[in-house]
Amino acid sequence: MNELSPQTRAQETSGQRFAPVAEVGAAALVLIVIGGIYMASYAPRRAPLGPPIGLTIASATLVLANLVMLARTKGFAWDKFFLVGRWTLLSYVVAAGLIEFAFVKDHTSGGPLVLITAMLVLFAVIVPLIISFTVARYQSSEAHL
């Protein structure tokens, strides 16, 4: 009959056994977005780089922590993760490339360009990570007894 207690069902549905990869990824994304808004708000002038560098480092740290948590995840639908991940990665690499193109076109160079490139790399990694994790967590066998 596979009768399950409400608590067990709630845990399964919420995916609580998985690390908070999506939540940490969202936090990393928020940091990148704040950094991007900060830099854009100074355009066409050169923005002070200290705050966005700090935000980028913090975001990169969260992404690394996320990758470690993800690598330790057990009972995960890795096939679905990589299936969704590679296509969304392709999609967001193209999107990030478009944004980079716009900044290069607008003669952004030196430190700001390096920083923007780093932020875009993080952006292109974070979003596919969140999307593919969210899809895969609900495709995992444990979540569908």
Partner: protein, 218 residues
């Protein structure tokens, strides 16, 4: 993306009906009739997206005024219009349809949104930033400067909601619906995200309309 939200609110009703059957909700097909065949990314639409993105790139690359205006006005108008139309018109209608009709509509509609909305958002934002630079609206001395910074914040909030909540949930639901026996509880949980974010994104769209009309009239 209020539109998606309104529709998914209707889908949540579907889930509630499915779940109201108790045990059957978990171990029986939750949708009456044959499960709809779902193509998550409509491949036929990719060439159209490629053409629009190429047009966007050319407009920015050559600083083509008409191209930038077209991308920003057409993309922004469709983005906001689709969100509001689907949320306020299609969503309530969908909520009154039979469960199989809702499922079939969603199975055909949501994959199109997977391509359409990111394309419109890219057209709007990329051309908008370029226009703001060209027109001098980003300069600190411009009367529109503070409005544009406000619009960056609005777009930032919408971007985080769309990228971290809506799009992952959208794809997860589509994958769930492709299963022979979709899990109603999983769909209901993912739909909750849409409902909570609907209010925020709706406010953001209204805020965007106010900001952009304000900028255009100064």
């Amino acid at each position: 993306m209020l539109g998606i939200w309104g529709m998914w609110g209707a889908m949540t009703d579907t889930t509630a009906e499915v779940l109201s059957t108790g045990h059957a909700a978990r171990h029986s097909p939750p949708l009456v009739g044959p499960a709809p065949v779902i193509q998550i990314v409509p491949l036929k639409g990719l060439p159209i997206v490629a053409v629009l993105i190429a047009f966007l790139v050319a407009s920015i690359g050559f600083n083509w005024q008409w191209g930038l205006d077209f991308n920003h006005v057409a993309g922004g108008g469709l983005w906001t219009g689709i969100d509001l139309f689907v949320g306020l018109v299609v969503g309530p209608i969908l909520g009154r349809l039979s469960i199989p009709a809702r499922a079939e509509f969603s199975a055909r509609f949501m994959p199109k949104m997977v391509l359409l909305m990111p394309t419109l958002v890219a057209m709007t934002l990329a051309s908008g930033f370029q226009l703001a630079l060209d027109l001098g609206n980003l300069k600190a001395s411009s009367p529109n400067h503070s409005w544009l910074i406000f619009s960056f914040v609005v777009v930032g909030v919408m971007a985080v909601i769309a990228l971290a909540l809506l799009e992952p949930a959208n794809l997860a639901v589509l994958f769930e619906m492709r299963k022979p026996r979709p899990n109603g509880e999983v769909i209901a949980k993912l739909m909750k995200r849409f409902i909570y974010a609907a209010g925020i994104t709706g406010l953001m769209q209204v805020a965007t309309l106010i900001i952009m009309t304000r900028v255009a009239s100064q």
